[in-house]
């Protein structure tokens, strides 16, 4: 039988970066392919080429034996390719029905046929166990519901090949199971599925065949039934993954305490609900949880951009009166923000201008309102060499740096003053393996010198590898802390889903 999808020799460059290097593979009808790879291995780029968001520099895509015109999402949809993006592509101001029907009826038509669309959506949502209300406004839906809408969007268009890009990143373990059940139903109907992930467990649970991407190249192809976790892991990172060595460090003094802190809910964010958290020197506290459960708010609180509505913040046994980013910095909190492009750096300013961002007002860099650019440049050069940042010069716009180098710079800026508390929010997201290892080593160094570290991550394996104690966040509340290795992944999953928080 001919394959439903064939990619031959796909190559894509972004400037000097080779994102995809001559990638070829085929997908058969009713098959679940897992595309496994580290962040930055080129998975998303490949899928964006398949879907027509990008045009490949070389190579061709065929669906059902016919060549797919490049760079045309419309053609990809016509050919039966459906894509569930990692960041949902839904308009919050419109209803589920409107989002699904968007683009399925002729743009020249004078009337949107709601009745038939509604009927079809209801039928499909029943058939595949994707419960959603067609007239609900998308802005009011939960993350899990939104994902169902995304899948329905693809099915509504009779997708034959469904691509899911990191679909479980935003789901609780229970929602993940429901998703896998739906995928099984779809495969029975003859759909083919490409499942993009960097989580080994899921890949083994759901796929028939695994393709492993590493640094833009296809590094291996295995039948799932005939492979093992460790083999896949080795293919993924190129060598046996060695967990970072975590030496024993005696926990020190209390550095930061949040005592019964609550915040006011703002917009779509999750408010903190009576949170108590203590961070000790020489200790990494890992905060696990499904994204959107209040981690962003907690991070904002510690960073100083969010103010407590009630409760107290105590830094080194002094109760904080005024709370702001400047107060947080003055209190010795080093901050690594979640989004290094939007929050961590100012893309159109130079490396020098970026490194002094948090302390241009200190005597080291300014005098009576005038800045000392020589001192600033020297500081930038120090960070560049101490933190191994690759950049053309301190005058280069930071936008031109790679993600890993940008993160090293942020790391240098946050850690250089030897802060007593470090807030590391998703510090390795989207980085390549080398940069991930580097960030981990730096955090462990800080721990060794006695800093108290809060590591917020959606990657459970990262938390299990680094954290001395683990806390789970769900619906704006915290579980009790458990020491390294005390809870199993399943137990943590239960907590992440919000079960047993009260008992904990």
């Amino acid at each position: 039988m001919s394959p439903v999808l064939r990619l031959s020799g796909i190559t894509k460059r972004f400037g000097p970066l080779l994102a995809n290097d001559a990638i070829s593979f085929e997908v058969a009808r009713g098959e679940v392919i897992a595309l496994l790879g580290e962040n930055g291995a080129g998975k998303t780029t490949l899928m964006n080429i398949l879907f027509g968001h990008y045009v490949a520099d070389e190579g061709t895509v065929e669906t059902f034996g016919k060549a797919l015109p490049p760079g045309d999402p419309h053609a990809a949809l016509q050919a039966g390719i459906g894509m569930v993006h990692q960041h949902f592509t839904l308009a919050d101001n419109m209803t589920v029905l409107e989002n699904i029907a968007l683009g399925t009826q002729g743009l020249a038509s004078w009337r949107l046929d709601r009745a038939s669309a509604r009927e079809r959506i209801e039928k499909m949502s029943f058939e595949f166990g994707l419960a959603v209300h067609p007239e609900a406004v998308v802005g009011t839906l939960s993350v899990g519901e939104r994902q169902r809408v995304e899948i329905l969007k693809a099915l509504y268009r009779d997708a034959k090949i469904l691509i899911l890009d990191e679909p479980t990143a935003v789901l609780t373990p229970a929602e993940t199971d429901a998703l896998f059940a739906t995928l099984k139903l779809l495969v029975k109907q003859g759909l083919s599925i490409i499942f993009i992930s960097h989580k080994l467990n899921e890949v083994i649970a759901v796929s028939d065949r695994v393709l492993v991407l590493r640094a833009g190249k296809l590094s291996g192809e295995r039948v799932t039934a005939g492979t093992t976790r460790s083999e896949l892991a080795a293919l993924m990172v190129g060598q046996e993954v060695e967990p970072p060595a975590v030496p024993e460090v005696e926990p020190g003094e209390l550095q930061l305490v949040l005592n019964a802190v609550s915040t006011v809910r703002q917009g779509t964010g999750m408010a903190l609900d009576n949170i108590t958290l203590s961070l000790r020197g020489g200790e990494i506290t890992g905060l696990a949880g499904v994204s959107g459960n209040g981690q962003a708010t907690l991070a904002a609180l510690i960073a100083g951009t969010e103010k407590p509505a009630s409760g107290e913040i105590i830094v080194q046994s002094v109760k904080v009166q005024e709370w702001s980013p400047r107060a947080a910095l003055a209190a010795g909190i080093g901050r690594i923000p979640e989004d290094r492009h939007a929050v961590g750096t100012i893309g159109d300013m130079s490396v020098t201008e970026n490194v002094i961002l948090e302390r241009y007002r200190t005597p080291r860099f300014s005098n009576r309102g005038f800045l000392d650019w020589q001192a600033a440049r020297k500081f930038a050069e120090e960070i560049i060499s101490d933190y191994d940042v690759k950049c053309p010069s301190p005058e280069a716009r930071i936008r031109l740096l790679s993600g890993g180098n940008m993160q090293k710079l942020i790391l240098g800026r946050a850690l250089d003053s030897a802060p007593s508390v470090i807030l590391a929010n998703q510090p390795t997201r989207g980085l390549d393996v080398g940069a991930v290892g580097y960030v981990h080593r730096r955090l462990l160094d800080a721990r060794a010198r006695g800093a108290a570290i809060l590591l917020i991550s959606e990657d459970l394996e990262e938390i299990l590898a680094l954290a001395d104690r683990v806390i789970v966040m769900s619906k704006g509340r915290l579980s009790a802390a458990s020491p390294r290795g005390a809870r199993t992944i399943a137990q943590l999953g239960e907590l992440m889903a919000g079960h047993g928080m009260e008992a904990a």
Partner: protein, 313 residues
């Protein structure tokens, strides 16, 4: 006649609807642009172009409706320029908008002087005449106000209905609204965001130009410099005031026009005790006040003023 009696006269409401008409066209035009995610600050200049193009077409011997079409095309042309700079090139919508206003206005004045080098007082045309609608125009006050207007005013109301229908009842409207909220939703469904946005800006600009043409072809009968006089900026405030909804924006435009008509009459009553400039300031002050009142609870189209690049999420 005291200040309250004015509100009960038919002539007051007739004037209010007449004053509202150009605002309605231009407000709908701006609303369409912003719903697709593009702030069009070219509005003031595009209205000027429309006012001139429509009037000149008739002056040069064209039919009145031909004038409307020419005005719309001229507006769409400047819309295309605006859209090219702000959509695929993603340039600042603030700067480009102001630039379009400056360019459109100066080009209009240049053309006017070029075509009519010698005139001292602007030549007049035979404008649209009131067209009472049989039966309906006989209703006291309401009927007179709404149904003894010129055809262009009727067209303004049709434009509101059409805008509302297209935005909420057609597949195209879905795409426009989604483009202003989350363009990647449009892209993911195989529709070109660039195409939708550019189209919306061109259509919106055409409507702004018709709003300008109303001034020279229905409200007055000739073109003079600075006749748009900030109406475009007021329309931008009206879009915010109307929460980006055609019906609410229409109500806003009529309320605003009623106030404008009212202050003119109040000026006559007060008979020079209060400087007339105070009354003339009121429409602008009122616009600012309206913005302050709604700003806190306004739900902007989320992607307004944010350029979109293909494949970027």
């Amino acid at each position: 006649m005291d200040a309250f009696d004015i509100l009960l006269t038919a002539s007051f409401w007739v004037a209010a609807i007449r004053i509202a008409s150009p605002l309605i066209f231009a407000t709908m035009g701006e609303l369409i642009c912003e719903r697709a995610g593009v702030l069009n600050l070219g509005i003031e200049g595009i209205m000027t172009v429309g006012a001139f193009a429509g009037w000149f077409t008739v002056y040069a011997g064209g039919d009145l409706w031909m004038g409307v079409v020419v005005a719309a095309l001229a507006g769409a042309t400047f819309g295309l320029l605006h859209a090219t700079l702000t959509v695929p090139l993603g340039l600042s919508q603030h700067v480009v908008g102001i630039g379009i206003t400056l360019l459109a206005t100066s080009l209009t004045y240049f053309t006017y002087r070029l075509l009519l080098p010698e005139v001292t007082s602007p030549p007049k045309i035979e404008p649209f005449q009131p067209l009472p609608i049989p039966g309906l125009s006989g209703i006291p006050i309401v009927g007179e106000a709404l149904f003894t207007q010129t055809p262009l005013t009727y067209l303004a109301f049709v434009a509101v209905a059409l805008t509302a229908w297209v935005l909420y009842r057609t597949p195209l409207g879905l795409a426009v609204r989604a483009a202003g909220e989350n363009p990647s939703a449009v892209e993911a469904q195989g529709i070109s965001v660039t195409g939708i946005r550019m189209g919306a800006v061109m259509v919106g600009s055409a409507m702004m130009a018709i709003g300008g043409a109303f001034l020279t072809m229905s409200a007055f009968n000739s073109f003079f410099f600075e006749m748009v006089n900030g109406r475009g900026w007021i329309c931008i405030a009206l879009v915010v005031f109307g929460s980006w909804r055609p019906g609410k924006a229409l109500i806003g435009a009529i309320l605003f026009a009623a106030f404008d008509a009212y202050q003119v009459r109040l000026q006559q009553i007060t008979g020079g005790v209060v400087p007339y400039q105070i009354f003339l300031m009121m429409p602008y002050a009122l616009s600012i006040l309206a913005l302050i009142l709604v700003a806190r609870r306004a739900t902007y189209p989320k992607a307004l003023m944010i350029p979109y690049q293909k494949g970027e999420r």
